[in-house]
């Protein structure tokens, strides 16, 4: 009797209680406010240039964040993505060496390297029971060491044909954004409609429950980390295509490790796992990119920009915590 009554009154708040809708509402809000601010400033916000800019800025982070979403959903996380991006950008550019004929081989090599790193991460976390934070931090230090030993600057060369990936666009939509959309769609589909996705929710929700329900949780963790690393590899390819070469600092300069985690959390995925999804992450990434774009157009000091981003992330998570807190209290 009581649960039904409460369920009824609850549905009215369902839209607000759902972090995914919150983040997209916030995105709409930021676009509106940004548009107004820029207009007052005498500029024009929604130009082709800004729309394309936002998408391009988002694409690489977006792809990494999709992978990060999988890892976080499964109750894990991946700090090694930034160095892996640097590594894969170099693997791509060096393997291609400016030759069109090497593109396929290079993409294959990048995927292989990424999968291997993901496998190592996943095995350390699941089999050796090393906390994801430490395991992936260790792996990123290892990659860092290898990189600084082998390269002290940009290396390799990407053929012109491969640069289309980074710079071409179809109307207002850059190819890189399409790539991001494709990756996000695949991940969304995996999470929502496949057995694997259901297992990710279960493992992230409660490992013990998952295990006692007969799920081989170790496998889920390993597969998830492989997928997460593959996403970082794809981002590495994209960045190599933009730079025309590989660079040992491209991943860390972009801050893809912490920024991707921030985007995921901003998108309403619980850092502890088991709750959230790809849609929110896409919103989170776009929100960060639009904020960036607004600040750029207003020519705001970049320190202030970081302060605002920090505040936005913390406030967002506080809002979600409040909502789930209200829903959670009913469990007792």
């Amino acid at each position: 009797m009581t649960p039904n009554v409460l369920a009824g009154s609850r549905t009215r708040f369902a839209a607000l209680a759902n972090p995914t809708s919150v983040v997209f509402l916030a995105l709409a809000g930021v676009i509106l406010v940004g548009w107004a601010l820029v207009a007052v400033d005498g500029g024009q916000f929604l130009t082709m240039e800004t729309v394309v800019g936002v998408q391009q800025r988002s694409a690489a982070l977006g792809i990494v964040a999709v992978g990060q979403t999988l890892a976080i959903m499964a109750g894990s996380l991946d700090l090694s993505v930034a160095y892996l991006i640097s590594l894969t950008s170099l693997v791509a550019a060096v393997t291609m060496a400016g030759q069109d004929s090497n593109i396929v081989l290079a993409v294959g090599a990048v995927m292989g390297v990424s999968a291997l790193v993901g496998l190592v991460n996943g095995l350390m976390i699941s089999k050796l029971r090393v906390h994801a934070f430490i395991a992936t931090l260790g792996v990123s230090l290892i990659i860092k060491g290898i990189l600084s030993d082998l390269y002290d600057g940009p290396a390799g060369r990407v053929p012109e044909s491969f640069q289309h990936l980074g710079y071409d666009r179809l109307g207002p939509v850059p190819v890189s954004a399409l790539l991001w959309a494709a990756v996000a769609l695949v991940a969304w589909f995996l999470l929502r409609r496949t057995k694997y996705g259901y297992r990710v929710y279960a493992v992230g929700g409660d490992v013990e429950v998952a295990r006692l329900s007969g799920i081989r949780t170790d496998r889920v963790i390993v597969v998830t980390h492989v997928l997460c690393s593959l996403c970082a590899g794809i981002a590495g390819l994209l960045l190599a295509s933009r730079l025309g070469a590989g660079a040992p600092t491209v991943g860390t300069d972009g801050g893809y490790d912490l920024e991707s985690i921030a985007a995921v959390v901003l998108g309403g995925t619980a850092l502890a796992g088991g709750r959230g999804g790809v849609a929110g992450t896409v919103g989170g990434v776009l929100l960060l990119a639009v904020l960036d774009s607004v600040f750029n157009q207003l020519e705001v000091n970049s320190f202030f920009k970081d302060v605002v981003r920090g505040v936005v992330i913390v406030v967002a998570v506080a809002v979600y915590a409040r909502r789930t807190g209200l829903a959670g209290r009913r469990r007792t």
Binding site: M1, T2, P3, N4, L6, A7, R10, R193, T194, K195, G197, Y198, R199, Y201, A202, G205, D206, E208, V209, A210, R211, L212, S213, G214, I215, R216, G274, R275, A327, G328, R330, R331, T332
Partner: protein, 481 residues
């Protein structure tokens, strides 16, 4: 159907089970009783494939099986419903029911099939208060249990293990559980029923197996034994008169509330006196825990008067001499990974009255912690011993009022008696005690006065020794004749 022979198991060289035999027939309800730490749960976890046995054999339908993973046990038709439910609160009912074995159609999870199958099983159990798409976090404890049972049915389980299934249920929900168990029985499913509550053992089971210290004591037909027999077999001694004698003298008022209210409580008038144990009865959701939390300042009263102080925070309540022994000691009462000593000193350190490490040993002896090892991490203790540590924690600050929320839930018979004795002792020493309990015999046996809550209001107050019927009719709001 199921035969376990000579099962033995050691953890890190400590023997927890040896030579346990168990045989269960289809459609039988087989109760397993024993004190906490007797090895019941370990035995069941071996059957469920969570732990692997070192000795002995398990046969199902005459075929020898060995389970390396819970999945193996599932495939062999064994389902286990744990005391702490194995459900994902964020997922829907049907997602939980089919967790780990979602039906697949054209490579994708077939949600329609999941929902239909779940709805059908819910209907078969006569459950219509919720549907397959409801998120589990919105369900009550009793409803969640139904989800667990549906899950077992959907597995085509032929052996269902229930570990303390009524521990989290209110009295009226227990009836529903009985009905569910009987439905399982009618389907020819064997039910292994672990419980501390002997009444349920007698109400439901055909046979009962007693385990003590990891060994089989005996298996008997339930109709051939009395509850006194069972208690003697479980603890190896007689527990004459479950409850300590009532108090003789009631002292001054230690705590008084007039017109207290929160968003879930209304018009609470309550007086707790020195030397007295006041029992709080009520159905699930009647506001029992909320009352304790309001008195303790955890979810403070927003209306009304309270003396000595109306606490706005827990800290203020503790300073005023009010303590709360919470319902969920594992998540709210103890720091599980810390030592007994650190836990015992938790409150006094927090309140800053200076932690006297030297006194801890005396305290542990006073609460009869056996053995009183101060360095032991609390998570390794049995439920009863953990509860004693919680008590010790409060005794360091000598509260004037101590509130107990389900003090003996999940605690074995021996420890239960010790906790009851201790509560009475504290009252004799001049403490005012309030005790919430879903277990009516406990309430009746312990309380000097029983306050019954209904829908956040005090429905009435009954004298010591009132009948279960009197309490239930007040709690459920029936007009008493």
């Amino acid at each position: 159907m199921l035969t376990m022979t000579g099962i033995g198991k050691s953890f890190f060289g400590v023997r927890v089970l040896s030579g346990v035999d168990l045989a269960v027939a289809p459609g039988e309800v087989h109760a397993i009783v024993g004190e906490n730490g007797a090895g019941k749960s370990t035995l069941m976890k071996i059957l469920a494939g969570v732990h692997q046995h070192d000795e002995g054999t398990i046969e199902i339908d005459g075929r020898r099986v060995s389970f390396g993973h819970p999945l193996d046990a599932q495939r062999a038709g064994v389902a286990i419903i744990y005391q702490e439910f194995n459900l994902l609160p964020e997922r829907t009912v049907s997602e939980n029911v089919f967790l780990g074995r979602e039906p697949i159609r054209r490579g994708l999870v077939d949600r329609t099939a999941m929902d239909t199958a779940t709805a059908r099983l819910l209907a078969e159990l006569g459950e219509d208060s919720f549907g397959p798409r409801q998120p589990v976090k919105r369900l009550s404890v009793a409803q969640q249990q139904v989800v667990e049972i549906v899950k077992a049915l959907s597995l085509d389980a032929r052996i269902v293990v229930m570990d303390e299934p009524t521990a989290a249920l209110a009295e009226h929900e227990v009836e529903l559980l009985y009905r569910l168990v009987r439905r399982l029985q009618e389907r020819g499913i064997a039910v292994l029923y672990i419980s501390h509550r002997l009444r349920e053992v007698f109400d439901l089971s055909d046979h009962v197996t007693v385990i003590k210290d990891g060994r089989l004591v005996t298996t008997v037909a339930t109709e051939d034994v009395t509850s006194e027999d069972l208690v003697r077999l479980m603890v190896g001694r007689d527990l004459n008169g479950y409850f300590p004698p009532r108090s003789t003298s009631v002292g001054e008022t230690r705590l008084q509330v007039t017109g207290g209210g929160t968003d879930r409580l209304h018009d609470i008038d309550l007086k707790l006196n020195a030397g007295e144990i006041v029992g709080i009865a009520g159905l699930q959701g009647s506001g029992r825990s909320e009352l304790a939390k309001a008195l303790f300042g955890a979810e403070p009263f927003t209306r009304g008067e309270m003396t000595p102080v109306r606490p706005r925070s827990v800290r203020q309540a503790i300073r005023a001499g009010i303590g709360l022994v919470t319902e969920d000691r594992k998540s709210e009462g103890l720091a599980l990974r810390q030592s007994v000593r650190d836990n015992a000193l938790l409150v006094t350190r927090a309140i800053g009255r200076g932690a006297r490490r030297s006194g801890v040993r005396d305290l542990l002896e006073r609460v009869r912690l056996t053995p009183p090892r101060e360095e032991q991490e609390v998570r390794y203790l049995s439920g009863g011993n953990q509860q004693k540590v919680v008590l010790a924690k409060w005794m360091t600050v000598a509260p004037k009022v101590l509130l107990f929320d389900e003090p003996t839930r999940g605690v074995d018979v021996g420890a239960k008696a010790a906790i009851h004795d201790l509560m009475r002792e504290l009252a004799e020493d001049g403490m005012a005690i309030m005790m919430i309990s879903s277990e009516l015999p406990e309430l009746i046996g312990m309380s000097d006065r029983i306050v019954v809550l209904r829908e956040g209001r005090i429905a009435g107050t009954l004298p010591a020794g009132s009948s279960e019927e009197a309490i239930m009719s007040l709690a459920a709001g029936e007009v008493s004749a």
